[in-house]
Symmetry: C2
Subunit: 418 residues, 2 copies
């Protein structure tokens, strides 16, 4: 599928992240407007809340865009999702009759502030990247025992904390926590010294389910994808995670990119999961290409300095697709809801420059990175800005995600000192 | 504090669970009314949604009881909570002038169906009962290594699944899941054969926080308590829980009792946590009695047969209070919200009849229980009804919680068979 031409000229460049082929969904505000729903097209945002109020977009008897999040549309299901995409494509394509009406509803992205594009119902984070699991397991348990016994049979994951999910651009405060190194006599309460990123994709559940669903059904329930950075305090995690899993180490914040890229926009980039090491049981078997070929990268910039690219990888490195994760999530009868967010797990490729966390890149701090500025890093230092980028490259066009950015601020003074 | 007398005669018995001293909050419906907020008094429910509409209860400019859950009141904070309790006590006490108005707003509990009393924002389950952790640890790792190294320093816990929390009386469907016994060559997908209860108390967060809070502050944020049964598939758990903790094993359902017993009603029953084995760090130190002396029991009834009491214990057996759990939950900066539910962890006492799970009572299935009917049980069988009860015994009165009941239904046919 080639580039689709829009009358919004900036959308027609082969390397612009938001061509007519993309049409990602966000929530924005301006000096003059409260947060509302919008669609990115080139350098502009189409104010769909206003378009619905004007009758230019009419998908349902009830308004779908009068709240500052996309959940009401997400709940409607695939037929309405497709109807919206068709309508948007008609309104924004070259040659449309509606141009003069739509033009009045375009806002420059440079004048907009972005907000969370959806209300997060619950947040689950998986551990489904094989190279990441192999790397982390090797560091902690040795190469022989790197992968836990269940790893090749189920996409293991844990429930995260929905209240801590924030939109790109939100500053991240270095957390305090209880820490105890392997050689310490006793734990202490201190700011995390091993604060890290996790490069992930987030899948967003559109339609709810109330019992076990198949991998194919799960794929149908997914609405779209965002970039996701699961900020992780490795020292808090090391002390707390046995036997119940990560808890406060992952509860400070999880950042997501501001635009939901729909499954429809990603269709041309579907690809298969890697070959199975052991056969999956029927309920988790692959039944079609459900990963996506999306180039991913991470940059790190010390305060007021230029950014260094520290990792390049691809979403196609995952061992399990989001559809397999959602199917597994439902096996117990667990009700899944509109707005549930599923983190893929850290995405690392097979070689060192493809690693999606500082834990792996610096090999637990033993091999610090050297940035282009000459500074070295094992983990994040105060003032560092971390940016995730995602791009799917089509035939003469690009599907971009909008950066997922966060700057780490110094820890607060001891909140418990009196 | 003795029994406070009400003009609702049934409330004045020394062993009635809902005297004027209690005033727990629930959500009910009848043949003629949609779900609405109500307060238990004796055998009746005071329809506070109607009372607010009539102007008989007026705490705020905005209505607090026009939605079928108590979250709007919970969010208001301690001053409004106290004002409501005072107003209810005035309206329902012997000698009030308002009796004729209130009488019209009483509904017999026998004619009411109960619903979830609050909207669960997020659900966290802790592992803070020392005897339970000791028992489970001994079974899995031997008595020497029973308690994980972090256990005496932090109330360890994991994020559960809010979507699976249901009100007492909801039937529980035996889950399917991926299972692999220690002697099996490969995992299989099958209904859980080791389906279990966990006897817990649930603490409900009233006012939100957005950064670290102290134990004293945390106690102030808690609105009230419910009984909680964290249904657990031990065989799913055994296979999945390393290294990320329980996931699908705990996602089928968690039942809560229908009435929120407020912290105010429990004031006379405050008690200290047990002596510390090692000193806690400052941010988790006890700063007053924050556990409660509440007798707890579990009964089990095979289908259509009489119930056998299988466990008796007390909430005062916990090693950590809910306030300590909430304080720990906030250390990383994790935002806590109105309606967050914190499960205490399984409450077991030091002796065998005090154990709060079948896993412990049957010692992993090795010592099946004999019920009064003559049947034996290692874990739950289809048709079994499990009931948790909670009672605080005052001077001439009783604070009851309302039973937390669930009947286990047979697993569905294989949801993935085609």
């Amino acid at each position: 599928m080639p580039l689709k031409k829009s009358w919004v000229a900036s959308a027609n460049s082969a390397d612009h992240p938001f061509p007519l082929n993309n049409l990602p969904y966000g929530v924005f505000s301006t000096k003059n407007t409260e947060p509302r729903c919008g669609v990115a097209i080139g350098d502009m945002i189409f104010d769909i809340t206003a378009a619905e109020a004007d009758g230019l977009v009419a998908l349902s008897d009830e308004p779908l865009f009068d709240l500052p999040f996309w959940n009401p549309l997400m709940e409607e299901g695939p037929a309405v999702w497709a109807a919206l995409r068709n309508r948007l494509t008609t309104l924004l394509a070259e040659g449309t009759d509606a141009r003069h009406k739509v033009e009045n509803l375009l806002v420059p992205q440079s004048e907009a502030q972005m907000h969370m594009p959806f209300a997060v119902s619950e947040y689950t984070d998986f551990y489904a990247g094989r190279h990441h699991a192999q790397n982390v397991g090797t560091m902690f348990r040795g190469a022989e025992n790197a992968l836990p016994p269940n790893w090749l049979h189920i996409p293991i994951g844990y429930n995260g904390r929905a209240s801590s999910v924030v939109v790109s651009g939100t500053d991240i405060r270095r957390p305090w926590g209880q820490l105890k190194g392997p050689n310490d006599d006793a734990p202490r309460f201190a700011p995390s010294l091993r604060f890290d990123i996790e490069l992930e994709m987030g899948a967003i559940v559109g339609t709810p389910s109330d019992g076990p669903i198949s991998v194919q059904q799960a794929d149908d329930h997914i609405f779209g994808y965002v970039l996701l950075n699961d900020w992780s305090a490795r020292d808090i995690q090391a002390w707390e995670y046995q036997p119940l899993g990560p808890f406060q180490a992952k509860a400070t914040a999880t950042s997501v990119s501001p635009w939901i890229v729909t499954k429809a926009a990603l269709e041309p980039f579907r690809c298969d999961t890697p070959a199975r090491v052991v056969e999956l049981l029927d309920h988790l078997k692959d039944c079609g290409p459900m990963l996506y070929d999306i180039d991913l990268s991470v940059t790190m910039a010390p305060e007021s300095q230029t950014a260094t690219t520290i990792a390049n990888t691809n979403y196609n490195q995952m061992y399990y697709s989001a559809a397999q994760q959602l199917a597994h999530h439902s096996t117990s009868g667990c009700p899944m809801n509109t707005g549930d967010l599923l983190g893929s797990g850290t995405i690392s490729g097979p070689t060192k420059p493809e690693r999606g966390s500082l834990l792996e890149l610096s090999w637990g701090g033993k091999e610090p990175l050297t940035l282009d500025t000459g500074e070295t890093r094992s983990f994040i230092e105060d003032g560092d800005t971390l940016t995730l980028k995602g791009t799917a490259r089509g035939d003469g066009y690009t599907i971009g995600f909008g950066d997922c950015v966060g700057t780490v601020l110094p820890a607060l003074a001891n909140p418990y000192e009196t």
